[in-house]
Symmetry: C2
Subunit: 265 residues, 2 copies
């Protein structure tokens, strides 16, 4: 275990509180999104408003790749802990969405199209050699959470997808408007993902609402979603610090090249 | 496993290179410190030169507490994986140094004296409720590393202590000169730690040099030390981003109070 083990199970002081109703749970979930989802982070504002230079967008795409390629490992980590075959089968489609069927045309391949359009060396992207430590630690924390917490908390941590369709739409519109490279080929991942995320989250939300029965279980669900917003926020904080303000790139991490050099290369 | 498992053991392309000599290993270790140790981070410059306001120093002490209280858990994680009783016994003194003997006067208690002098609520500090996610993820990554990598890499990751005495001396001198609260009581942890770190690292360095025999093992040792410098650097990046520049505190994290309010409270 990474997390210090609590002395006793359950959250303290919640034994006597009644469980939330379903509308109360939905409202609590919405509130977390409104207060903590990374759509509120200034890095996304800059990205979607076309205010980042090419190297900053490259840094975003390169770092986000680690998140993208870790998601199926996160889902497999979860599936390996699920005893219920039906639930495992339901979850399998997420892995296939990212990794593709035998033909290989999954979300990861589509995501690399974005990196290609941005002029990144795909072998360098895949190697994760230039990754910010802040990105790596945040994403690894997500996988560790899914491996160490209850299956309820692990599934609940995926519920930030509730908030994702809006930011995907905003991203597609903003990138298309402001950046010459942002064509259908580059944005294929985000365009396809909108509908996948909607289907995934419909299942996840219903499952979590059905299985979080006590107040303590509901609290654990909300904490799991908060944890996940921290994972997303910390990645943008690390990016913003390294490439926007104060623009201090940690030792060994990706250093954007001036565009003329890059084209000459 | 959090880390993706390599397909084959050992680092590629190193099979034919001869092992480094002991002076070469020591030089390689020194170079990592000169290039990547967190003594180079501007946050430490500001702290030691007295250029942080009270709330910024509180944020530093509060976040560093999570590192401090995780170190004995990191050492216990390592000890739980060591089959050699003599090596375990040697390592035990580190846990005692931090946690104290039965009388409880260990490094953690001394560290809390610093928090007390800074006017922090010690229950709040101990709860880790106001911690930056970037701090938590970096420190947890350190524990995960020690649990998942080889014992050689796990012990090697402690070798950043090679670089620690200089920064401890600089910290004691800088804080004493610039901050009214920085008396012997507040700085007891750092003053005592200088000699402990020296003894610990003498053992760790000798053990690692003796046990890293092949080139691939030596490479793994150097990578482990680099990983650990990332863990330390990422913590200061998160602090600097939240409390210095751009001074954007992530949702739910510690918000310093103006000093007059704090004294009135």
């Amino acid at each position: 275990m990474i997390a210090p083990a609590p002395m006793v199970p359950g959250a303290p002081g919640t034994e006597t509180e009644p469980p939330r109703s379903e509308p109360e749970m939905l409202a609590a979930l919405s509130r977390i999104g409104e207060e903590r989802y990374h759509s509120l982070h200034p890095f996304h504002r800059l990205l979607h408003d076309g205010e980042l230079d090419h190297g900053q967008v490259q840094a975003w795409a390169l770092n986000r790749y680690y998140y993208q390629c870790s998601i199926p490992r996160k889902d497999l980590t979860l599936m390996a802990r699920i005893a219920d075959v039906d639930l495992r089968l339901e979850w399998r489609s997420r892995v296939i969405d990212h990794e593709g069927d035998m033909d290989g045309s999954g979300g990861l391949a589509r995501y690399l199209q974005l990196c290609e359009r941005l002029g990144l060396d795909l072998d360098y992207v895949r190697s994760c050699a230039g990754l910010l430590p802040g990105t790596r630690f945040a994403v690894d924390a997500y996988i560790a959470f899914v491996r160490e917490r209850s299956v309820l908390e692990a599934i609940a941590s995926s519920l930030t997808e509730l908030y994702a369709p809006a930011i995907h739409r905003e991203r597609i519109a903003g990138l298309s408007r402001h950046y010459a490279w942002a064509d259908d080929y580059a944005l294929a991942y985000f365009k396809k993902r909108i509908n996948q995320a909607r289907r995934d989250v419909d299942f996840g939300r219903a499952w979590v609402l059905r299985n979080a029965r006590t107040r303590a279980e509901q609290d654990a669900v909300l904490d799991a979603v908060r944890f996940k917003t921290d994972v997303l926020w910390a990645q943008l904080d690390a990016l913003h610090s390294a490439y926007v303000e104060p623009r201090r790139i940690p030792p060994g991490c990706f250093v954007p090249q001036p565009r003329d050099q890059e084209h000459a290369a």
